[in-house]
C-alpha cells in the first residue's frame, strides 16, 4: 500500500544511501513532516545531524498501515526552527532534546526545558508547571525513592488527594550512550547497547545488530534470527510476569505478587539456559548469535517453559478472580485512544488504549517475517487494560515459543560482518516488551558511525503516565506508574 509521499520509503531493518534521503529547505521539511503527522502517521525518531557549524534535522516516520518507514531531512540551518509541538504533541520531547543537544531553538515550543541535562543541581531543580489556588499543594517525590528503583523526580500539583498535574523530571542516569558511539562501532559499543536499558537487553542489542547488519549489507543467519526472536519473547514473558506480580503487590494482593516474583525468575533462567546470562547479555552480536543451544538444551528449555507457563496461568487466575483487585484496577489511570495517539504512545500501554500498534505486526523484521504473534489489544486504557494486555501477551508469547521450539531451524548462527557502507542510513525497529525500540544509524564517508539515535519506548510513554494521572487520587500514582513500568535509564540514555 504505497502512497504518494515526498519522503523516502524504506522497510524496517533496511539501509539506504544518505544522498537518497529526500532533502528540503527547513521550512518545507517541517511542512512535510507536519502534513504526514496530520494524516495520522507516527513520528518514531526526530533528531539533528551536525554539518559543520550548522544542523540538519532528520525525521523518521512510521506508516503503520503501509508497513513502511519514511525518512526525510532538512538542509543545514542555524538558529531556530518552528516547533512541530504546537500542532503535534508527539514531537514535544524530541524538540526539547534537539534544543538540548544542538542548541537550535524550536520556536513557539510550549514547554521548552532540558530533557536530561540540568543546571548542575539535578533535574529536580528547575522550573515546574505550577497550579495556584486555595488548597492546591505541591508534592515532590524522588529522585531517591523508597523502593529499589531508578532515580527520577515527580512533581505533583494536588488539590487534596486529587492530582491536577504531574510533571516528570528525568536525566539522573544520563550516561552519554549516543555520544559514546560516535566514530564507532567501538569494541565496547555492543556492551553499551545491551545496557541502554538492562531489562530490555535483547531488544536493544537486536536493534543495534540489525542496523549494523543493514549497513554492512548482510543479514544474520536464519537460526540466529530465530534465536533472537525466542530470546525476545522470553524477555517479554519474564517482564510481563514480573509486572503482573508488581501490580498485585501495589494493591497488597499477596498471592499473585509472591508467585509472580518467583515465576519471573524462572523465565529469566530460561534465557540463562540459552546464553548463560539471565538478561540475555552476550546472546546477540552484529552478524548473528555467537552462542547456540543444542537439541538437548532446547528440549530442556521447552519442558521448563511449559511448567512456568502453567504456573503463571494459575497466578494470573487468582488475580483476575479477585473482585478486590478488579475494583482497584478498573477506571484507574485512564487514557483515551485519541490522547494516546496524539502523544505517540507505543507498546502495551498503547495497545491497552485500543491502538493496534505492534512492530512485530506492522513492521516485521528478522524471524517475525516468518512467524507471527497476534496483536493483543484492550480498549479501556486503564490499569486493568494494561494488566490485561500483558496477560494476553504472556499467553501469545507462550504459544509462539511452543510453536518455535517444536520446529527448530537448522544451520549456522554466526556470519562475518563486512565493513559498513559509507554515507548510509539504517533504521531498525524491535518490539521490546515495553514497546517500540528504535535505532537509527548514520555512517560518515569513512564508514564509521557518524550519528546514532536511540529511542526507547519510555521516551514516548512517560508523557502517557503524566496524562493518565490527571484527576486521579495521588495514592493511585504507584499503581499507575507500575502499570506503565517505564525505564528511567532507557529514557536518560
Amino acid at each position: 500500500m504505497r502512497r504518494d509521499t515526498p519522503f523516502t520509503l524504506l522497510t524496517n531493518g533496511a539501509a539506504l544511501s544518505w544522498a537518497d534521503v529526500s532533502e528540503w529547505p527547513l521550512a518545507e521539511f517541517l511542512r512535510n513532516v507536519n502534513a504526514e503527522l496530520d494524516r495520522g502517521e507516527r513520528l518514531i525518531s526526530f533528531f539533528g545531524v551536525p554539518e559543520g557549524d550548522a544542523l540538519r534535522l532528520v525525521a523518521v516516520l512510521a506508516f503503520d498501515a503501509g508497513n513502511t518507514l519514511a525518512v526525510g531531512r532538512s538542509q543545514p540551518f542555524t538558529g531556530s526552527f518552528q516547533a512541530l509541538t504546537r500542532t503535534h504533541a508527539q514531537a514535544h520531547l524530541f524538540e526539547r532534546e534537539i534544543w538540548e543537544q544542538h542548541g537550535v531553538v524550536p520556536e513557539n515550543h510550549p514547554w521548552l526545558k532540558p530533557v536530561r541535562k540540568d543546571h548542575g543541581a539535578g533535574p529536580a531543580v528547575g522550573d515546574f508547571f505550577r497550579v495556584d489556588g486555595r488548597e492546591v499543594h505541591e508534592v515532590a517525590v524522588g529522585p531517591v525513592h523508597a523502593g529499589i528503583i531508578e532515580p527520577g523526580h515527580f512533581r505533583f500539583q494536588c488539590a487534596g488527594e486529587e492530582v491536577l498535574h504531574l510533571e516528570i523530571a528525568l536525566g539522573y542516569q544520563h550516561r552519554g550512550v549516543e555520544e559514546a558511539i560516535a566514530g564507532g562501532p567501538h569494541h565496547s559499543t555492543v556492551y553499551q547497547m545491551e545496557t541502554v536499558a538492562g531489562d530490555t537487553t535483547i531488544a536493544h542489542a537486536t536493534a543495534y545488530a540489525n542496523t549494523l547488519e543493514a549497513l554492512a549489507g548482510t543479514e544474520a543467519p536464519l537460526r540466529a534470527q530465530w534465536l533472537r526472536a525466542v530470546a525476545l519473547e522470553l524477555e517479554r514473558l519474564a517482564n510481563h510476569t514480573g509486572d503482573l506480580g508488581a501490580l498485585a503487590g501495589d494493591v497488597a494482593f499477596l498471592p499473585t505478587a509472591s508467585a509472580c516474583g518467583k515465576i519471573r525468575g524462572d523465565f529469566l533462567n530460561l534465557t540463562a539456559l540459552l546464553c548463560g546470562n539471565r538478561f540475555g547479555r552476550g546472546l546477540v552480536r552484529p552478524g548473528g548469535c555467537p552462542l547456540d543451544g543444542d537439541a538437548e538444551r532446547l528440549g530442556r528449555l521447552r519442558e521448563r517453559l511449559e511448567t512456568a507457563l502453567a504456573e503463571v496461568q494459575q497466578a494470573a487466575a487468582w488475580l483476575w478472580d479477585a473482585a478486590s483487585v478488579r475494583t482497584r484496577f478498573e477506571f484507574t489511570g485512564q487514557l483515551g485512544a485519541k490522547q494516546a495517539a496524539a502523544i505517540g504512545l507505543v507498546g502495551p500501554a498503547a495497545r491497552a488504549c485500543g491502538l493496534v500498534r505492534d512492530v512485530r505486526f506492522d513492521h516485521p523484521a528478522g524471524w517475525y517475517r516468518f512467524a507471527q504473534v497476534p496483536v493483543s489489544v484492550w480498549p479501556d486504557g486503564d490499569v486493568f487494560a494494561r494488566a490485561r494486555v500483558r496477560w494476553l501477551e504472556i499467553q501469545r508469547s507462550g504459544d509462539f515459543l511452543r510453536e518455535q521450539l517444536d520446529a527448530v531451524p537448522e544451520g549456522e548462527t554466526m556470519s562475518p560482518l563486512p565493513a559498513l557502507a559509507p554515507n548510509s542510513l539504517a533504521v531498525a525497529l524491535v518490539e521490546g516488551w515495553r514497546g517500540e525500540v528504535c535505532h537509527v544509524a548514520l555512517t560518515g564517508a569513512d564508514g564509521r558511525l557518524r550519528r546514532y539515535k536511540i529511542t526507547d519506548p519510555s521516551f514516548h510513554n512517560w508523557t502517557g503516565l503524566a496524562l493518565a494521572l490527571r484527576g486521579q487520587a495521588i495514592s493511585d500514582f504507584p499503581l499507575c506508574n507500575k502499570s506503565f513500568n517505564l525505564s528511567y535509564c532507557g529514557f536518560d540514555l
Binding site: A252, A322, D476, P478
Partner: protein, 302 residues
C-alpha cells in the same frame, strides 16, 4: 505489696507480649504465600536494634517531634492498663474509665499526627490528614460498640461492661470491631503495613522521618494498640470474665491468636481498597455496631 507486684506483672504482659502479634501475622502471611518468612520474634530484634541507634533530627523540627511518639506510647500503654483481663479485672477501675480509654487512644493519635506535622514534609502532612479523617469514622464505630456494651450491662465501667457476653448482637459487634481493629492498626484492606510507597500510606507515612528510639516507641506502641484491640474484641464477644482463671487465660490467648491469624489471612487473600472506598467500609463497620446497639437496646427491653 501484692498489688504492686500484680501491677508490674500486668505491665510486663503488655510490654513484652505485644510485639509477638505482628510476628504472628507475618508468619501467617508468609505461610499462605509459601515463603518461610521472617522469625516470629523479628519485631523484638528490630526494637533492640532501633534502641541502640542514634536519632536523626531535621533542623526544622521542634521538641514536639520527639515528644509526640513518647506521649503517644505512654497514652497507649495507659489505655491498655485500663483494660480488664478476664476474671482478674483491672488494677485501676472507676466509673467512666471507658471514656478515658477512648480519649487516651485519641491523644495517642493526636500526638503522632502532631509529630508528623513537625517535619514539614508534604508526605507526612498528607498522611496525618488521611489518618485523622478516617479516624473520625473509626471512632464513631468504637463509641457505638462501647455504647452497646454499656447498654447491655447498664454500666460505664470497663470491668462491668466486658463481663457479660454481647448476647445476640455478638456476631454483629465482632465483625464491626474487627473492621475497626483493621482500620485502627493500619492493616489491609485499609492500609498496607508492608508497602514502601509513600504516596499510598496512611499511618506509615506519618512516621517516615522518625528514627532510633523514638521510632522504636512508635513501633512498640503500634504493637500494643493491636494487642489492646484484640483483647477488647475477644472480651466484648466471649464471656471471659465468668470463667475460672485458667480457662479464662486459655480463652483469652486462643481468642487473641484467632484474631491475629484472621488479620493475617485477610491480608493474604484480599487487596486493599482504594482510598475513596475506605469511608464506605468504615461506615459499614459503624452500622454493624449500630445494629448491635439496637439489638442490645430492644433485646434488653423485651
Amino acid at each position: 505489696m501484692i498489688s504492686v507486684l500484680e501491677f508490674l506483672a500486668r505491665l510486663a504482659v503488655w510490654l513484652f507480649l505485644a510485639p509477638l502479634l505482628p510476628g504472628i501475622i507475618n508468619k501467617v502471611k508468609a505461610w499462605v504465600a509459601g515463603r518461610r518468612g521472617p522469625p516470629v520474634l523479628q519485631l523484638y530484634y528490630d526494637l533492640a536494634r532501633l534502641w541502640r541507634k542514634g536519632v536523626v533530627l531535621s533542623m526544622l523540627t521542634s521538641p514536639g517531634f520527639i515528644a509526640g511518639p513518647a506521649i503517644a506510647w505512654v497514652a497507649v500503654l495507659a489505655a491498655a492498663l485500663l483494660l480488664p483481663l478476664g476474671p482478674l479485672g483491672t488494677s485501676l477501675s472507676f466509673r467512666g474509665d471507658v471514656i478515658l480509654l477512648i480519649y487516651l487512644l485519641a491523644l495517642a493519635r493526636f500526638c503522632t499526627a502532631w509529630a508528623a506535622l513537625e517535619t514539614g514534609s508534604a508526605f507526612e502532612g498528607m498522611g496525618a490528614a488521611r489518618e485523622v479523617s478516617y479516624a473520625v469514622l473509626a471512632e464513631a464505630a468504637v463509641i457505638t460498640a462501647v455504647l452497646t456494651l454499656s447498654m447491655q450491662s447498664g454500666s460505664v465501667s470497663l470491668s462491668a461492661m466486658l463481663t457479660p457476653s454481647a448476647g445476640p448482637g455478638a456476631v454483629l459487634l465482632a465483625v464491626g470491631l474487627f473492621a475497626v481493629l483493621l482500620a485502627e492498626n493500619c492493616r489491609v484492606p485499609f492500609d498496607d503495613p508492608n508497602t514502601h510507597l509513600e504516596l499510598t500510606m496512611i499511618h506509615e507515612v506519618m512516621v517516615l522521618d522518625h528514627s532510633g528510639p523514638p521510632f522504636a516507641a512508635v513501633l512498640h506502641g503500634a504493637a500494643m494498640k493491636l494487642l489492646l484491640f484484640s483483647v477488647l474484641l475477644v472480651q466484648a464477644v466471649l464471656p471471659v470474665g465468668e470463667l475460672s482463671v485458667a480457662a479464662a487465660s486459655g480463652a483469652m490467648i486462643g481468642g487473641v491468636l484467632l484474631v491475629t491469624v484472621a488479620v493475617g489471612l485477610t491480608e493474604s487473600l484480599t487487596a486493599r481498597v482504594a482510598f475513596r472506598r475506605v469511608p464506605l467500609l468504615l461506615t459499614t463497620a459503624f452500622l454493624l455496631c449500630v445494629f448491635a446497639l439496637l439489638i442490645a437496646w430492644k433485646g434488653g427491653a423485651a
